[in-house]
């Protein structure tokens, strides 16, 4: 069976697998094997365990949908990350998210700081112009 994981940044995973285990906070765990009936599910926070020739890979998913039809599993996720085990993949994704949030916060502060400085400079420049 074929698995395609897509995020807005592009296709993250597009490979053939033996079977997939889907685990999510909202729905619990279930497995998808070859010739499974057509299925639709939603994942809030969870992961996919991809098994291929006794090798495992984990894809952590945040807000995604899963559709299975004709042995093709299509996963559309807002955020996803592949790792060798679920903890490392989740840790890495959390790290990336945290650094992004920190960066956003820093940018916001910079804007406010620059605006305050500009206002202060304008205030200081005004009396000197009059004199």
């Amino acid at each position: 069976m074929h698995l395609i994981v897509t995020t807005p940044q592009g296709v993250l995973y597009n490979e053939t697998v033996d079977y997939v285990v889907v685990s999510s906070k909202n729905n619990g765990d279930f497995a998808l094997l070859k010739n499974h009936a057509p299925l639709i599910s939603a994942i809030d926070v969870g992961y996919l365990k991809l098994v291929k020739e006794n090798q495992q890979l984990f894809t952590v998913i945040i807000n995604g949908t899963l559709e299975h039809q004709d042995n093709v599993i299509t996963v559309i996720a807002q955020e996803a990350h592949v790792g060798l085990n679920k903890d490392s993949a989740m840790d890495h994704l959390n790290q990336v998210r945290q650094s992004r949030l920190d960066e956003n916060r820093r940018r916001n502060i910079d804007f406010l700081k620059a605006e305050k400085e500009l206002k202060k400079n304008i205030r200081e420049a005004r009396p000197s112009r009059r004199s």
């Binding site: 729905n27 057509p38 299925l39 949908t65 807002q78 992004r100 804007f111």
Partner: protein, 292 residues
């Protein structure tokens, strides 16, 4: 007209400005290409998601979700998507003008709506006008915008809608038509009852019997907020492309204007130079005549 030195100084300053605007034009052009690529890449994802939702809804006629049903509008959330920085021509001013006109027409009191600002410019506009704000800080719309960037805001308005605190969510943004044209549009994000992309009736090709894990209603409950956020993300991408296009056009005309100004100043400079030479010549001839 000033002295030769003054004119020369102005020419140099204008040339430097035109160099900056030209560079900004080129940066915006390359960012626009990137933004257009993101829009193209994201469209199939939204289509797939609406397809999935159509399938879920059409599987059971009784299946419904608060986000699919319109209710009496007592309070509205307005999401304004603007840029973080200026120098983008009328890009931000156009949205704010359209929004102000709409609000004046639709609402009598400020308590009837709340503004969710995306982008620093929209935030400072709403603050300046004294509109009620959903968040007390601005949400940045970066060039490489991600869901995570506006998750704080989306979580807040989805929660407010589902709890019945607000009854409608409308987005104001600049729709990207082409490089020269961007149109201010407002779109009702929630409720989604009139959205043409979601089919509520079964249609041909959708007659495959799907299993829903754990159930169709649970899947719908999880999918609807996701779909709304995806729609908003699509609009942000459009707005981002419009911003780059607007900045590109503005910087192009600024560069052209600077070039015209340099040409005019050069003419004045030449005239001033000629005048100086004439004066010098007159002085020399006058001096020579006096000696003779």
């Amino acid at each position: 007209m000033g002295s030769m030195r003054e004119i020369k100084h102005r020419i140099t300053a204008t040339q430097k400005t035109s160099q900056i605007t030209k560079a900004m034009h080129m940066v915006s052009a390359s960012k626009l290409k990137k933004a257009e690529r993101s829009i193209r890449a994201f469209r199939p994802l939204t289509e797939h998601l609406s397809d999935v939702i159509s399938r879920v809804i059409s599987s059971d006629i009784d299946l419904t979700h608060p986000m699919l049903e319109a209710r009496d509008t007592k309070k509205t959330v307005y999401i304004i998507i603007s840029s973080d920085r200026g120098l983008a021509g009328p890009y931000n001013a156009m949205i704010f003008k359209a929004f102000e006109a709409y609000v004046k027409k639709q609402h009598k009191a400020k308590s009837e709506f709340v503004v969710a600002a995306l982008g620093y410019k929209a935030f400072s506009f709403a603050k300046r006008k004294g509109y009620p704000l959903m968040l007390d800080h601005s949400i940045q719309v970066r060039d490489d915008v991600q869901f995570l960037d506006f998750q704080e805001l989306s979580d807040r308005f989805i929660k407010a809608y589902l709890s019945g605190e607000v009854d409608q969510i409308i987005v104001f943004y600049n729709k990207f038509i082409n490089t020269m044209n961007q149109k201010v549009e407002y779109q009702i994000l929630v409720p989604i009852e009139h959205n043409p992309t979601i089919e509520t009736k079964p249609k041909a090709g959708l007659n495959i019997m799907y299993h829903y894990e754990p159930s169709a209603s649970t899947v719908l409950i999880n999918l609807m907020p996701m779909y709304v956020v995806n729609m908003l993300y699509g609009m942000i991408l459009e707005a981002k492309a419009s911003e780059h296009a607007a900045r590109m056009t503005a910087m192009k005309s600024a560069t052209d204007n600077a070039k015209d100004l340099v040409r005019t100043l050069q003419l004045h400079y030449n005239r001033a130079r000629q005048d100086a030479i004439t004066i010098e010549l007159t002085d020399i001839i006058g001096g020579a005549n006096a000696v003779n």
